[in-house]
């Protein structure tokens, strides 16, 4: 019972993890959409990146003279796949029930989804494309450059909204995004060699999840077994006055409920500081610190209980025994709606790097980066009332649930990574670029899941820059991103543990799970004076 409850409730909070893991791998610099940074594998801290320097290194804004504006089009395709296979002996932990319609199936989605600020909820998009823009002003003769930029430090969204999709138990629709809509910045050029910069970001942070629930495990094995035994004759006897399992089936593979949760914070402040040192033409060093952003996301939730859930528990509660042990779900509501909140920290990030030109036409960028995902030790979601699911959860898992909240252990790790970029200047107008960035996962192997199917990843970049005229630059960048996970049955208690004490939501208990996420991202910017 304990495992069952725990799974349910942890599953309920699962969307947090999604956010977590997704952000851990996907978000960092992946959706800024600066073509130069993309092409150089995000090794850009010591280099100029146009108005996106607001994000990468505000000190590099001093490179922008006069009044400049930058328009950007970011587009991409994300291909998310998951495969679920039953190993030999599958079902042994659920009293032999193994008629799992998920086993042996694959899931694939390329449907992007976005959270539209102002409208709320997750919106499926025909294509993933975002127009973005920024501007900068350097008064003539001044050492100061002022700028503001609109960009997306984090944007992950997909939809696999189908009753037959085997991955719907870990994210039917998911959107996690952070859009910085206003970022007043100032950079100061101290002398020819040294610049400093500061930017303050005002962002909209959203996290939304729609997900189905099931709980394969010993407990649901028991309930299904008893249901079958009762229905084979006992239901017609007076025993049902004492205990009643005659409601609809509630087994390991029964769909229990659907959760829709929609949380946001419309103004989440953060700040970036940077330094850029260019002692010679052929060498530069830069460093940036991006602050964390502590948030309290607020919004609405809806829990839609399946007819099986309602029938099973309301029938069960009609008997005498549950009256003396008032810990079971009531099963008397079809839907619960209300307000929820979640404290979330957008982790701080540090990067430092060099730009080195061994030859007039060749340039090498190298960056070291660190992101403080250790901030994501646990997530607590608070609901405005006691949910039917939580009634029983708080009894069996007092550490993870109260009557109106659930707490999820995350245990993420802060990781260092590096990035390498190379640029070749064909002539004064045209530059060709390529980059490579291995992205180690912040998520320990025993936390992997299908909600955010991104483990250790690799990013490749290609692109070019073209100077159209004296003041106009066009940059084009392409990223290929790939991440695969292999999660053998029972190795990650975020997805496929079957033990009774598994406190984390495991809708694919005892299944072998493999995931592969591939992203193709393209961006083009047009920067000119005005």
């Amino acid at each position: 019972m304990q495992a069952y409850i725990a799974r349910l409730l942890t599953g309920l909070g699962m969307f947090c993890l999604v956010a977590g893991s997704a952000q851990a791998q996907l978000a960092q610099n992946l959706t800024i959409g600066n073509p130069k940074a993309m092409a150089l594998g995000n090794a850009i801290t010591a280099d100029s990146s146009g108005i996106d320097a607001v994000h990468y290194n505000p000190a590099a804004l001093t490179k922008l003279k006069g009044r400049q504006t930058q328009m950007k089009l970011l587009t991409g395709v994300m291909d998310i796949r998951a495969k679920f296979d039953a190993p030999a002996g599958y079902g042994s932990n659920f009293f032999g029930y193994s008629d799992d319609d998920v086993a042996g199936k694959s899931s694939r989605t390329t449907t992007p989804a976005m959270y539209l600020p102002g409208f709320g909820g997750i919106t499926e998009m025909p294509v993933l494309a975002a127009p973005l823009a920024g501007m900068s002003i350097n008064p003539p003769g001044s050492k100061f450059t002022f700028a503001t930029n609109m960009y997306a430090p984090q944007a992950l969204g997909f939809s696999r909204d189908d009753d037959d999709d085997p991955a719907r138990y870990q994210g039917r629709k998911v959107a996690i995004q952070r859009i910085t809509y206003l970022s007043p910045s100032v950079a100061y050029q101290m002398n020819d060699e040294l610049s400093f910069g500061l930017s303050v970001g005002f962002s909209h942070q959203a996290m939304a999840l729609n997900q189905d629930f099931r709980a394969p495990g010993t407990l649901t094995g028991v309930t299904q077994l008893f249901g079958e035994i009762f229905k084979s004759g006992i239901c017609a006897t007076p025993i049902v006055i004492l205990v009643n399992f005659c409601g609809a089936e509630l087994g390991p593979f029964t769909n229990l409920a659907n959760l829709d949760i929609d949380l946001q914070q419309k103004l989440a402040p953060s700040w970036n500081v940077g330094v850029l040192w260019e002692p010679t033409d052929w060498f530069a060093w830069g460093a940036t610190y991006q602050s964390e952003s502590r948030m309290h996301l607020q919004g609405k939730y809806t829990v839609d209980y399946s007819s099986n859930w309602q029938s099973f528990w309301s029938t069960f509660n009609s008997a005498l025994l549950p009256q003396f042990v008032p810990i079971f779900p009531n099963g008397n509501v079809d839907e619960e709606r209300g307000s929820a909140s979640l404290d979330l920290t957008y982790p701080d990030h540090f990067s430092t790097g060099i730009k080195f030109k061994p030859h007039d036409q060749w340039q090498i960028n190298f960056d070291l980066k660190w992101t403080d995902y250790a901030d994501w030790n646990e997530f607590t979601i608070e609901f405005d009332r006691e949910l039917d699911m939580l009634r029983i959860a708080k009894v069996f898992s007092p550490n993870a649930a109260t009557s109106n909240s659930i707490t999820l252990d995350r245990g993420y790790e802060s990781v260092w990574s590096w990035a390498l970029g190379v640029q070749y200047d064909v002539n004064e107008r045209l530059s060709l670029r390529a980059g490579y960035e291995p992205r180690p996962s912040s998520i320990p192997g025993n936390k992997a899941d299908v909600l955010a199917p991104v483990g250790d990843a690799t990013l490749y970049g290609l692109g070019l820059g073209y100077r159209w005229d004296k003041d106009t630059y066009i940059d084009l960048g392409f990223n290929y991103f790939v991440s695969e996970q292999d999660i053998p049955a029972g190795t990650s208690c975020n997805v496929n543990c079957a033990s009774l004490d598994s406190l984390v939501y495991n809708p694919y208990a005892d299944l072998n799970v493999k995931t592969k996420t591939t992203a193709y991202i393209m961006a083009v910017t047009y920067r000119t004076t005005f």
């Binding site: 009044r67 102002g118 002003i137 008064p139 001044s142 002022f146 005002f202 914070q265 419309k266 103004l267 989440a268 402040p269 309290h296 607020q298 919004g299 609405k300 709606r337 209300g338 307000s339 929820a340 909140s341 608070e382 405005d384 009332r385």
Partner: protein, 334 residues
């Protein structure tokens, strides 16, 4: 000429004021409206106009003219909520909780002269709110509002200047009906509000008198699904709001001006529909005095500071603010 301009300017200021009050339904809403909406801006605007003499024949922006104004405001609301409980025919009053809400608002207002006698305006507030009694904090955007101000008749010396306005406030802030009221803070009203009204100003050299009246229709909020006092709130129909303001501005010198204004708004009863019945709220009245000082810091810039206090239980206790035109070099169009 100068007087005429001054008058016009003040009149303009007045117009803005009333629609600020538009959106209150409950006490809290009344307070918020008074705390900082277009009303204070009006005073500031009046002062600004005092200085922007020149040969403007209308008190609004000229066709094609654009201005961006930044304002920082602070308000404090201290309160103790007393809840009334009924049990077996007895009525008990219980001190529910005490609140001390400190609200810091940074707002950007963009004005655009569509024609010489029609100005469009939009205001984006960024709100930081702290409740020091309950140890809560919240950053969010506030309610974005837009307005159109129309001066049907050209200003004529010796006669009052009238301006009509229409305004729309959007529930872009955190709605009080979307949060958990025990643990979270709201930064907006939660409903759409449509307002209109009349501003007038009149010059008695060297003073400009100004005043306004306004009415706001507040739209119903449905599907709230919020637990309040153990009951499930489903719909809220906020009462409409009536508002007025009056005051004067006085130009002490070319560089300094003063103004004082009185602002008042009255909200009709709000209707709450719960899952198990409906309930009528109470009417509320907010009133406040506001004093502003305008100082010219350079030939093109006037900085306004203001301080005010609330005069009823439903009003903010303290109001402070500063506003200035934003003109990053090279950005402003001329």
């Amino acid at each position: 000429m100068t007087q005429r301009v001054i008058a016009g300017a003040l009149a303009l200021a007045c117009l803005v004021a009333p629609y600020a009050f538009a959106e209150q339904a409950s006490q809290e809403q009344a307070r918020e409206a008074l705390a900082k909406k277009s009303d204070d801006a009006d005073t500031e605007k009046a002062l600004e106009e005092v200085f922007q003499a020149a040969e403007k024949s209308y008190t609004l922006l000229k066709k094609g003219e654009r201005t961006l104004t930044f304002a920082a405001d602070y308000s404090l609301v201290r309160d103790t909520l007393v809840e009334t409980l009924r049990q077996n025919g007895n009525v008990f009053s219980v001190v529910g909780r005490s609140e001390a809400q400190h609200t810091f608002t940074n707002s950007f207002t963009f004005d655009y002269g569509v024609w010489d006698n029609l100005t469009f305006s939009v205001r984006l507030p960024l709100v930081a709110k702290y409740d020091t009694e309950r140890d809560l904090s919240r950053y969010s955007v506030g309610d974005v509002s837009t307005s159109v101000r129309w001066q049907p008749w050209e200003a004529v010396r010796g006669k009052p200047v009238y301006t009509l306005y229409g305004s729309l406030s959007l529930p872009t802030g955190d709605s009080p009906y979307d949060i958990n009221p025990d643990n979270d803070l709201s930064t907006g009203s939660g409903f759409y509000s449509l307002g209109f009204g009349l501003n007038a100003s009149y010059i008695i050299d060297p003073v400009v008198l100004f005043g306004s009246v306004g009415y706001a229709y507040n739209m119903k909020v449905s599907d709230v699904d919020q637990v309040r006092g153990g009951r499930l709130l489903q719909d809220v129909d906020p009462g409409d709001t009536l508002s007025m303001s009056a005051g004067f501005a006085y130009s002490l010198s070319y560089d300094v001006s003063l103004s004082a204004s009185y602002q008042m708004s009255h909200s009709l009863k709000t209707e709450y529909t719960f899952a198990d019945g409906s309930l009528e709220g109470t009417e509320s009245t907010s009133a406040l005095m506001n004093f502003a000082l305008g100082v010219r810091t350079d030939p093109d810039t006037i900085v306004n500071v203001n301080a005010g206090f609330g005069m009823t239980e439903d009003s903010p206790d303290v109001l402070l603010g500063i506003s200035m035109p934003l003109d990053i070099k090279g950005l402003k169009s001329e």
